[in-house]
Symmetry: D3
Subunit: 140 residues, 6 copies
């Protein structure tokens, strides 16, 4: 089995609603995301002969998904009061609403699904919240 | 001349008020801070003989300063509307007000001053906003 | 399947009794240990909703085990003469006796067992003896 | 199951014949290769007791294979015109002909086979073409 | 004094004409380039208040210069026979001619000059030919 | 001014006699040493034209010095009791006696002197005791 792995990153703020500890505050990380796809055979066409997927293509897809979350505050639906959301609008802050608690585990699942929807045979997605703390998701 | 360098980091959110670009939104980084002190001679006492300063002591000082900014939203005085600050209070978010625009350059100066006030002969402070973007401050 | 990976390290001395080569001498390394646990489902409780285990908790457990071996000489039972052990006592050196040859492979197994005994669903433990030399242990 | 992982690297030039893009030109990389072997049980002999394989031995094998490709231009059979090969001979450039398109995927397979032929129970070979782009090969 | 440091990289082939050793062959590296500028005072304007230069701008300039050398064979004027250059043209290989021997030292000087010509107060340029081998150039 | 920087490392045990803390025990580190030399002008000869010094030569010198301290226990003259030294002899452990307290600061000075004695125009030597703790020595 062949595997291809690439990575991208985004710098975003988040917080964990209902958490008793420092993660309950708005804070931020550089999130490093690695995506690994797999395949039994390499391509035979002229352009991508000997490749599983073109590195450039895989990376571009991953970077597009990371860019959507880059340089914003990510928050879970329902985790902020209406007045806070209104305050953000008046400050003209771009915020990203997600329908899951923004933990590293959930981000790993999120990117896995996004890549799978692109038709890729995804093997594993890793999300590093800090250089030493990493969550991953795999299927099958 | 001898030098001693150590590092610490913090995960925080910030934004640049008045900036036309993605940095104007609340976002976050892992900020990596390196501190470098210097001295002509090494100590002679029993405990720290052959040292400039005990690594453990230098690191602890730097970590204390980093911890003050860790896991919070850092904002410059006057850069948020009263309603936004009120919204943060009602969400019970811990925020850190600083009297400078929270750029990497200003953080480098900030940590330099803090370390100097501790009586250290600081040579250089570097602040990495991302793995590739670093600001530094030196005096003399 | 979800995975959570964290790491800790310790700076210790060791030697390989009966080895014909430079590893037979007392020398030292920075040992970097990564622990990876797994789980089918994420938690649903208030505090750790969307997590497999709290990163902080996993890291603390791993750090406790690393700290036990940090800043000491690790030696296998029976690999030092009584006079040497006596000499260490008279120097007041803290030494750690283990019942296995202190290779990276055996340390990987050692940490795997320790984490399993804590009730964690351990997937893999890696022990880096040097930045490029790594041993790992997995079960099933 | 125990695993042992080491790495080596080589600095070489290559190009992808028939590729429409920048990789079609002669360019170069630092190729980082990691090899991972596995085994159910550790050795019991005096020299390598508690080891899967001696790190030094595994690394030496991998380094020999990397050295063969180091500091040369790697090209696929048939991808250069006779006049170009003739020009290289007249410049006294050392070139390495391989019977596959020199992609990271094919190099992963190449090193996997070479290590297997040495009698090693190879689990996985990874080839980093750049720090973020990695291809891997595994069997069964 | 404030400093700002960023980095970019390029993957290119080169060779050292007249060198007796492996560097005389066409081979390649990932060249990592760091640029460090300096300034006594930070900006005061609305957009870049508290900055020396916008990280994004500094990085873009450096990346443009790196891109010019990326994915090609770099050779010194006069170091290739006419028949070799002709062979490259017939293969449609993009090559980059430079008027200096392409050593890390000369590349450091080259990027320093290019950045200075952009009006930047350049402090130091470092060029990593490999992760451990770095040349730098400074003026004053 | 041109600079050339390379690095080497060694895995050794040490302890700090008279230190009240964990460093008083025999423990170990991977010591990473970087050496930086400087020169106003690059060479003009055929072999090293455009170089300050050949990377390979600089690295070999540094590696020789590191190898002398690799895989042994480093101790300061007078810091071990005669019975302990006798015990080491009977265990056939190779130990390295140095005439300074083996702190990172003193090692930086030690390597600086060794490189200077080789006739190199040394600018700075850094010794990383751990990935984050570094001592350096410069002259002028």
């Amino acid at each position: 089995m062949f595997y291809l792995k690439t990575e991208a990153s985004f710098d975003a703020a988040h917080f964990l609603e209902g958490y008793d500890g420092k993660c309950r505050n708005i804070h931020g990380h550089r999130w490093r995301v690695t995506a690994q796809i797999r395949g039994e055979k390499l391509n035979e066409g002229r352009q991508t002969r000997g490749m599983l997927v073109d590195f450039g293509d895989l990376r571009e897809i991953l970077e597009i998904f990371c860019r959507e979350l880059d340089h914003c505050l990510i928050y879970e639906t329902g985790s902020l009061k209406p007045a806070t959301l209104q305050a953000f609008r008046e400050e003209n802050f771009r915020v990203c609403e997600v329908d899951f608690r923004p933990t590293a585990e959930n981000f790993a699942f999120y990117f896995y699904q996004k890549l799978k929807e692109e038709g890729l045979d995804v093997h594993r997605v890793e999300v590093y919240e800090t250089p030493n703390n990493c969550a991953a998701y795999e299927e099958d």
